[in-house]
């Protein structure tokens, strides 16, 4: 399993996911730093993400949209709070309107990503903290859909992989 552990804090509405990868820290950092790589995993295969802006510097902004099966678009924004390459990344993630402008009252998720070497592998820890705002359910609803659609896509990928192996 890629994910080795996860911790949920119900009171703080936070989720910590720890994953380990067969690659060095510098290589894993690229999947955040390079928008072309980022968009290959941020959204599920059925809702792929496209990053139109990705200013990977502290205070920089990113804007992206995810395209659904019917061609519908869901837009999001990031703000890079802190970047300490290749070990630590902090960013806020929220919804955007059709023009890519942040929707202020939709709430944000604060993400803290840390990469640590374990031999020639990498441990990635992602701590996501929700702002407990009344519209937060939309973020989770979006995630849930991702989760469901993604689960199906994942099965396809596993099947394709076992055929080619």
């Amino acid at each position: 399993m890629t994910v080795v552990s996860s911790v949920k804090n119900l009171e703080a509405l936070s989720l910590t996911v720890v994953a380990e990868f067969d690659a060095g820290v510098e290589r894993v950092w690229q999947i955040w730093e390079d928008p072309r790589q980022l968009e290959r995993w941020w959204g599920p295969p059925t809702w792929p993400a496209t990053f139109e802006k990705h200013e990977f510097v502290p205070g920089g902004e990113a804007s992206y949209f995810m395209t659904g099966p019917e061609g519908e678009k869901a837009r999001g924004w990031w703000r890079f709070v802190a970047i300490d390459a290749p070990h630590r990344l902090e960013f806020d993630d929220g919804f955007a309107d059709d023009n890519g402008e942040p929707v202020a009252d939709m709430g944000t998720i604060h993400g803290l990503v840390t990469l640590e070497p374990i031999g020639d592998r990498t441990r990635m820890t992602v701590l996501s903290t929700f702002e407990a705002e009344e519209q937060m359910e939309k973020i989770i609803a979006m995630g849930m859909e991702e989760g469901m659609n993604g689960a199906l896509g994942q099965v396809d990928a596993i099947l394709a992989e076992s055929v080619s192996a």
């Binding site: 703080a12 519908e72 020639d120 407990a132 849930m144």
Partner: protein
């Protein structure tokens, strides 16, 4: 977005209330306490630097969000955890966890793929066990 899937299981109002309930530190503290024991409203009120009425209001918000239940016992109002409501909050976080598990799997696939896409090609189908470090390569086509 298709929010319907979530709405099928949790009404919108229900979820609004849930997150509103968690938006306050006193309310989170009350939830924490009543999950391990019973408290009367006046017992809770004694714990915080606020009026009985203010604590009562917090308890009411938690009650509407189905996180706690109130029960009259003699002259006391006993506050207990509502485990069904707490379960629902947990389920929402569970759903978010699924998203991250799938992202991690996609990252692993992406990393395995770039490990084989190098000029000094590693045998296909054996990428996951490869310990070849490709991270220091100049494979940054996304950055111009």
């Amino acid at each position: 977005m298709v929010v319907d899937q979530l709405r099928a299981q949790h009404s919108e109002q229900e979820i609004d209330r849930l997150f509103q309930a968690f938006a306050d530190t006193t309310r989170r503290d009350i939830v924490r306490r009543v999950t391990v024991g019973e408290y009367s409203v006046s017992g809770l009120a004694a714990l915080y630097a606020m009026s009985f009425a203010a604590v009562q209001k917090h308890v009411a918000v938690l009650e509407r969000a189905s996180l706690v239940a109130k029960e009259k016992r003699g002259r006391e109002q006993i506050v207990r955890a509502n485990h069904d409501g707490l379960q629902r909050a947990r389920r929402l976080l569970d759903e978010y966890e699924v998203i991250w598990r799938q992202r991690a799997d996609r990252i692993a696939d992406l990393l395995a793929e770039t490990a084989t896409a190098k000029p000094g090609r590693i045998q296909a189908g054996n990428t996951k066990t490869s310990k070849t470090e490709t991270g220091k390569s100049k494979d940054r086509k996304g950055l111009s």
